[in-house]
Point group: C2
Chain length 346, copies 2
């Protein structure tokens, strides 16, 4: 993507909220201010995690800081998000999540009851996903230098199968599967902030995705690529995969499920559900002849019962593009999220 | 230690700066609000890192968030600290540091020039220590919800030798070695904040310690325990080791080097150098017959030329205590840092 070359960021510019969007502005910040100083084959792959060979094992290493506001929202809280988010990043490399770290930045004045609720939630999330929180750190910053509580988790997982999961092996004709309806997490957060109410109560889709991935692999499927649809939503994830794979991606809007509440809220707030963050949805890209089997496997997994096949991989292209065939039969190009849509969504 | 049982923290209390001191208040917070929700053998060991068996390898996993203020100080900056701090936590388990993650929480309004300087510093620190920064994350919080820049690093190292490094194997009679003079980091930070000036310029001791540790191990020494002397300083580290080992530790004040500038500043500020944070100092505990060889090995390593033998391990005790024989020949008991001495030192 990146068809328009943005102006370079000047060193006397200031960080804006959009630099944390996970979209084009974040990428530009990394390109211009991080990668020139830190360069290695792992970072160059542009994944959410790094695959490392240690001894006879292939381990996966990833990290995320969580700054979501509010700390508690319908369907989840920052503690659960901090466990599931890192578990999901590991799962998207095809790894079995094993160990997490937990580092807290607490703001002076935070209520102990809040901390207790969050830690309880982290403990339960770790237990339910079978990961161990094995190491941690606690810092406190002065009142007004934080926002209650930030959590960083890093995670280690292990790859126990021979399947290579990577955008580089996405092939022409591959099927693109989506694991469920879009936008619940972002809209649940936004609705809480804005005091919106729905006829049908709306909860975040925040959930661990590792068992759904393990189900795919257990069926012996050649999973070419997996990607969770967090900041920047489905559109940004697809745009990144088009770029990494060097291929066009052809998507049918009619196959993308969006529930009524999300659709209504998006209209009201002027948001596009394709760009809204999810915390329990992912796409899987598999060879065309395995599409139906993969769909059945996903639909049998509780976290991805709403899976659909949303499109296919097109040919190699000098300007790899995500082309959305709209419900009305028109074509629309999906770029990465450009600015900031919903700050501090995770 | 913990001879006095503190009152439990009430759930309607608020987080105070002292809860981030790394001393007794931090321990109490963890005991009452974290460990009841997250419990496993690794956390129960109370180390700065976890040793994990993966495949045929023994790997070490650790994490730290860095919230030091100011971001730049004499002798270092937050970027360098974020690399060396995690490298040192890995080294203190006897591991060879290999891979780091880097997660940034940026405050809206942060100057790009500052980010560039910090990333440059991280890149150079990683290069100089031979670790790779392989995965990362970037979040942005609104103006007034951060303090410029917080960095989390998590790290993975590998244990390549058969020596078990753990407080549990500290033996009666073992020698306690200190790798250099105390208090430079804390005082350099404090002096910058308070605008103090010294006759002799004072810089933080911020430095990577892994080569000094590798030198000890290369000499075939049976290193029983290693501990870096960060938040809470030497006294807190010793108090923790007394508790973990169940043994008294007998320390001679006359053998503990403190430079004139640090001594002067401590008098002026009412601080005790034994409790001031260091970022490039550690203690090593070795069998008595290996003390001189260990001392020579440390003194030959550039980062620990100022090493001394500061004491020895006493007998098993129901109330394991750190006893300091002062320069005047009196005895003083060293407890963990109780409250907060220097907030946001790392």
């Amino acid at each position: 993507m990146n068809t328009d070359c943005p102006l370079p960021i000047a060193t006397d510019e200031a960080i804006r909220l959009g630099h944390g969007s996970g979209g084009e502005l974040t990428q530009q910040l990394l390109r211009e201010f991080v990668f020139p100083h830190i360069d290695n084959p792992w970072l160059r792959q542009g994944h959410d995690s790094a695959v490392l060979a240690i001894g006879n094992s292939k381990i996966v290493f990833t990290t995320d800081s969580f700054v979501v506001t509010p700390l508690f929202f319908p369907g989840g809280d920052i503690g659960e998000l901090a466990v599931y988010g890192t578990v999901n990043d590991l799962a998207m490399s095809g790894a079995k999540p094993l160990y997490l770290s937990c580092s807290l930045i607490l703001e002076e004045g935070l209520n102990m009851e809040t901390l207790k609720r969050v830690m309880d939630s982290m403990g339960r999330a770790a237990k339910s996903t079978g990961v161990q929180l094995v190491t941690g750190d606690t810092k406190v910053v002065e009142r007004g230098k934080g926002d209650g509580l930030y959590i960083n988790t890093a995670g280690i997982g292990v790859i126990e199968h021979p399947v290579q999961v990577s955008p580089q092996i996405i092939g022409e004709g591959d099927a693109i599967l989506l694991s469920g309806d879009l936008g619940r997490h972002g809209i649940a957060i936004m609705a809480t902030r804005e005091g919106l109410e729905f006829e049908m109560p709306l909860a975040s889709d925040c959930a661990p995705l590792h068992t759904a991935v393990q189900d795919l692999l257990r069926h012996g499927l050649e999973v070419h690529c997996l990607r969770d649809l967090t900041r920047g939503g489905l559109a940004t994830a697809l745009a990144e995969l088009a770029e990494s794979s060097g291929k066009d991606l052809l998507i049918q809007e009619a196959q993308i499920p969006v529930c009524e509440s999300v659709e209504g809220a998006c209209e009201l707030l002027g948001l596009d559900p394709l760009y809204v963050a999810n915390e329990g949805r992912f796409i899987a890209i598999v060879p065309p002849e395995q599409a139906e089997l993969a769909l059945a496997a996903l639909q049998a997994s509780p976290v991805s019962t709403g899976s659909t096949i949303i499109g296919r991989v097109g040919g190699r292209s000098a300007r790899p593009t995500v082309i959305l065939e709209t419900a009305l039969g028109c074509e629309r190009i999906l770029d990465r999220l450009a600015g900031e849509q919903l700050p501090r969504i995770c």
